[in-house]
Structures are given as structure tokens and as C-alpha cells.
């Protein structure tokens, strides 16, 4: 519930404030968004497994985002930024899919 309210509030803020992303942050924001989405879905899965912990959620959220950003930053510095960001996106996508399938099993019991 809180997650849904927070999501809506963030989207509304984003629409009304019309933020200008600093140019330094521009290549990292999509990765950060995907990482955060993965953390959120992981939290949803653990909620259904009745093992949700706010501390774990916060830490996984932040560590996901920071790790993804650092990986892309490293890739940029090594000259393989686009490939590494693709790798990060693929891994996070797989995780998102597995999380979603776990949630689906909890909802439909099968």
C-alpha cells in the first residue's frame, strides 16, 4: 500500500516539477530506475513470502541502485559503458522476471 502511494506520489511530483536531469546523471538514471524497480519487486516477493524486512528492503534498494550505477560508471571509464549497461539491464531484467513469477505463484498458488 505504502509502495503504491509512494509510486503515485513520485510520478505526480515528477510530472509537476518537470525536473531537469543534470547532464552528469543522464546515462545512469535509466539503470538506476531499473535497479530500483528490481528492488521493489524483490520486496513485494518477500512480502508475499512473509519475510519482508524494511531494513533489508532499504539496503537492497540502495545497494542495487549504487551497484548498478557504479558498474555503468566503471564501464564508461573502461570504454565499454554501453555493453556493461546492457549487461546490467539484462541481469536486472532476469531478476525482475523471476521476482514477478514468484509473486505470481504466491497469488495464484501454482
Amino acid at each position: 500500500m505504502a509502495a503504491v502511494i509512494g509510486l503515485i506520489a513520485g510520478v505526480v511530483f515528477g510530472i509537476f516539477l518537470q525536473p531537469d536531469i543534470p547532464i552528469v546523471l543522464q546515462p545512469y538514471l535509466p539503470i538506476m530506475v531499473v535497479a530500483a524497480l528490481d528492488a521493489l519487486l524483490g520486496a513485494a516477493r518477500s512480502f508475499f513470502e512473509r519475510s519482508f524486512s524494511d531494513k533489508v528492503f532499504v539496503i537492497s534498494f540502495l545497494s542495487n541502485v549504487i551497484t548498478a550505477t557504479l558498474l555503468v560508471l566503471l564501464g564508461n571509464q573502461l570504454g565499454v559503458g554501453s555493453q556493461l549497461s546492457t549487461a546490467v539491464i539484462v541481469v536486472l531484467g532476469i531478476r525482475i522476471f523471476s521476482n514477478v513469477s514468484a509473486i505470481r505463484r504466491f497469488i495464484f498458488k501454482g
Partner: protein, 282 residues
């Protein structure tokens, strides 16, 4: 096992108690050691107290909700920001799309160039038309000046001569004066005035009792005729042997004084007539 020992102890008498206590105690400790379930094969699971030592469950839940909401808001905000950013840049387009965009843009540029050259041609033609119009206006202004001088509408100034005819004993008749003016005209006089009357194409001179009448204004001796033109030609036209000058002197006994001047100013003007019948041919 330990429980069974205790039951055994209850059944026997009070007397045996003192002697049995240390034994039982030993047995009990041994049993405790023997009864342990820690085999080492399974990890020890330490149960966590549900919500800290205080157990303030409600506050913890609120904090957790706020944290979740905050992070979700962060995610939503980042998502919207990224979506807005992606819409306005070509970064996410594929190569084919970029090529297409480039093609479209260059086509548009070509079209605009074509339009520009068309408009330039139009501008040039309009400018030349404007130049022509300006030329026409200039000629019209020139014509206006010429016609104004010719028709007596404008005052004029220039080289010329001044003739003063002082009447002697005989009356100088109109036809002689008219001949004088005609001679001046033939000699190329551009502007002529007769005693403060501007001579135009429709000018006339007629005799009156006291003197002459020029275009409705009476004139008396001495008559002053001013003419603008080549002074030499004008003087020759009057002073030619047997000309109008000598005729005035001989026939009418009049005194004719001719003066060449560098600047003859003729201020007299004539209002241009309004034509009743004549119209210009377009």
C-alpha cells in the same frame, strides 16, 4: 528420564531424601547434558524478537511504510524524469531511425532552400518594379517641372535679357509687341514676362486707348520684357537688321534698351487653366 526420577523420589519416604539429593543432582546435570538436541548437524536458529526489545510494533510499521513509500516515490520520480528526458533526445533512436530523421531533415532543408530562392526571385522582381516606379516618378517630377515652367505655373530664373521699350511720340501697337515676343520665342526664349504678366501659350496683347492690354491687365510705357534663354541669340533676334528692334526705333520712334543679364528672375506665375473639353489620351 529426569521427570521419572523425580516421581521415584516422591514415592519413597522423607528419610532417604538427605542421602539421595547429591546423587540426584549429579544425575540431573548428566541428564541435561545428555538431553541436548544440538547434534552439530543442524545450524542453531536463533529466534529474533519480533520488534526489538521495546516491541513497539506500530511505530516500527509506520517507519517501514514511510521508508517503502519514500523509496517508491524516488523510483517513480526517477522514472518520470527519465521518460521526459528520453522523449526529447535522439539518444534512444536506432541507426535506421536516425538515418530516416536525417533524410527527412535534409529533404526539408532542400525544400526550404527552394522556397528561399523563389522568394528571392520574387523579391528581386518586386525591387526592379519598385526601381522602375521610382524612375517613372523621377521622370514625372522632371516633366512636372518642365511643364510647370512652360505653362507658367512655376517661377523661373536663369540667363537672359531684359528689354525696355519706352514709347516715343507714336503709340506702339499690339501687333508689333506681339511680334517682339514671337521673335524672342523663335530665338529660343524659355520663359517670357511682359510687365509683370507671364507670357504663356494662350497670352494675347491688344490695343487700348491708353496703351496695351496683356491677358486682361493693362500695361503702359515703358514696357519691360524679360526673357530667359541664350542672351546672345535673344539679343540677335531683336537687333537683327530690319528686325523688330529697328522697326520699333524707326517706325514708332521708340527707345529700345537691351540688357544681357547673367540672372533674370521671373517671379510672375500663371495658374494653370482647368480644361473643360480637352482630356488626356490614355
Amino acid at each position: 528420564m529426569a521427570r521419572a526420577n523425580h516421581e521415584h523420589y516422591e514415592q519413597h519416604g522423607h528419610r532417604e531424601l538427605h542421602a539421595a539429593i547429591p546423587r540426584y543432582h549429579r544425575m540431573n546435570t548428566k541428564d541435561k547434558v545428555n538431553d541436548t538436541t544440538d547434534t552439530g548437524s543442524f545450524p542453531i536458529v536463533r529466534r529474533k524478537p519480533p520488534y526489538g526489545p521495546r516491541g513497539n510494533a506500530r511505530r516500527a510499521r509506520i517507519v517501514s511504510s514511510v521508508l517503502v513509500a519514500l523509496l517508491s516515490a524516488l523510483l517513480g520520480f526517477g522514472y518520470v524524469a527519465q521518460v521526459r528526458n528520453t522523449e526529447s533526445s535522439y539518444e534512444s533512436l536506432t541507426e535506421d531511425e536516425l538515418v530516416r530523421v536525417l533524410d527527412e531533415t535534409s529533404t526539408q532543408v532542400d525544400k526550404l532552400e527552394q522556397r528561399k530562392s523563389e522568394l528571392n526571385a520574387q523579391l528581386e522582381s518586386i525591387q526592379s518594379a519598385a526601381d522602375k516606379q521610382e524612375e517613372a516618378a523621377r521622370i514625372a517630377a522632371q516633366n512636372e517641372t518642365t511643364n510647370g515652367i512652360l505653362s507658367g505655373r512655376l517661377p523661373a530664373e536663369g540667363k537672359g535679357i531684359t528689354i525696355t521699350v519706352t514709347q516715343g511720340s507714336t503709340h506702339v501697337d499690339a501687333s508689333t509687341m506681339f511680334t517682339l515676343i514671337e521673335e524672342l520665342r523663335n530665338a529660343g526664349a524659355e520663359v517670357i514676362s511682359f510687365n509683370s504678366v507671364r507670357i504663356v501659350t494662350s497670352s494675347y496683347i491688344k490695343d487700348t486707348k491708353s496703351g496695351l492690354n496683356v491677358d486682361g491687365q493693362s500695361a503702359a510705357s515703358p514696357y519691360t520684357i524679360k526673357a530667359i534663354g541664350n542672351p546672345e541669340d535673344l539679343q540677335n533676334a531683336i537687333q537683327i537688321a530690319g528686325g523688330v528692334g529697328s522697326r520699333l526705333k524707326v517706325q514708332y520712334n521708340a527707345k529700345v534698351v537691351l540688357k544681357q543679364q547673367e540672372s533674370v528672375k521671373i517671379d510672375e506665375v500663371r495658374r494653370s487653366p482647368t480644361y473643360k473639353y480637352a482630356k488626356t489620351v490614355e
